[in-house]
């Protein structure tokens, strides 16, 4: 299993659901071929440095995975056929792909995200409580404070 990284650009004019469907399609294709996907990173819509197939913007997606060369070739063949994929680039990162390490990294990232969300929820709750305690004047005032805090975040 080799370590690959593929960046591809999806037509920016299709809806978010369709974009997700395209990403699903190719990650599914990799999965079927026995690849292990370490990361799917959606960069979102970005300006292209030059016009590609008459598009000035594109939805970038990054796959980081371990797979055999045939699977990559198959995916690239489909990229060429698919009208929604306007550009792609695959880079080999290494001869070996450590599935266990990738799994661990994936879990660590998920845990970190969960923790961050937890902390955010906690601090939000704390702030809400602090607001309740300090300001028991007008309801209008409270609402305004809440609005301000949202902007800060």
């Amino acid at each position: 299993m080799r370590h690959y990284e593929t960046v591809f650009i999806i037509n920016p004019e299709i809806s978010d659901e369709e974009t997700d469907a395209v990403v699903e399609k190719y990650s599914g294709m990799l999965g079927e071929g026995g690849a292990f996907i370490g990361a799917v990173d959606k960069w979102g819509r970005r300006r292209l440095a030059y016009t590609v197939k008459k598009f000035n913007k594109g939805f970038y997606v990054l796959f980081d995975y371990g797979a055999s060369p045939e699977v990559v070739a198959e995916m690239e063949r489909n990229f060429k056929i698919d009208d929604n994929v306007i550009r792609f680039l695959t880079v080999k990162q290494g001869e070996d792909y450590d599935v266990d390490a990738a799994k661990a990294a994936l879990e660590a990232r998920a845990a970190k995200r969960a923790q961050a969300e937890d902390e955010a929820a906690q601090s939000a709750a704390l702030r809400a409580r602090a607001d309740d305690e300090t300001e028991d004047e007008d309801q209008d005032d409270d609402e305004m404070d809440d609005d301000n805090q949202e902007y800060k975040d």
Binding site: L48, A49, Y50, G58
Partner: protein
Amino acid sequence: MAGVIRRRSWGRRKVCRFCADSSLAIDYKDPRTLRYFTTERGKIIPRRTSGCCAKHQRELTEAIKRARAIALMPFAAAISS
């Protein structure tokens, strides 16, 4: 990086930025760093000007060319005026 420090004449010898700062990575997905090593028109700045060591200049050109391929950087920028 262990290496021979070259001194031509007594001028200000430029040091390879990537050797000096190991936290600075060369990555084709990071056009903001790479942009520093291209002209406004998008040409790659030569080693004699950028001061990069051979190893890093090689990596740099590779990264810039990859970034160009997926439209993160221009092959040739239009004259912006």
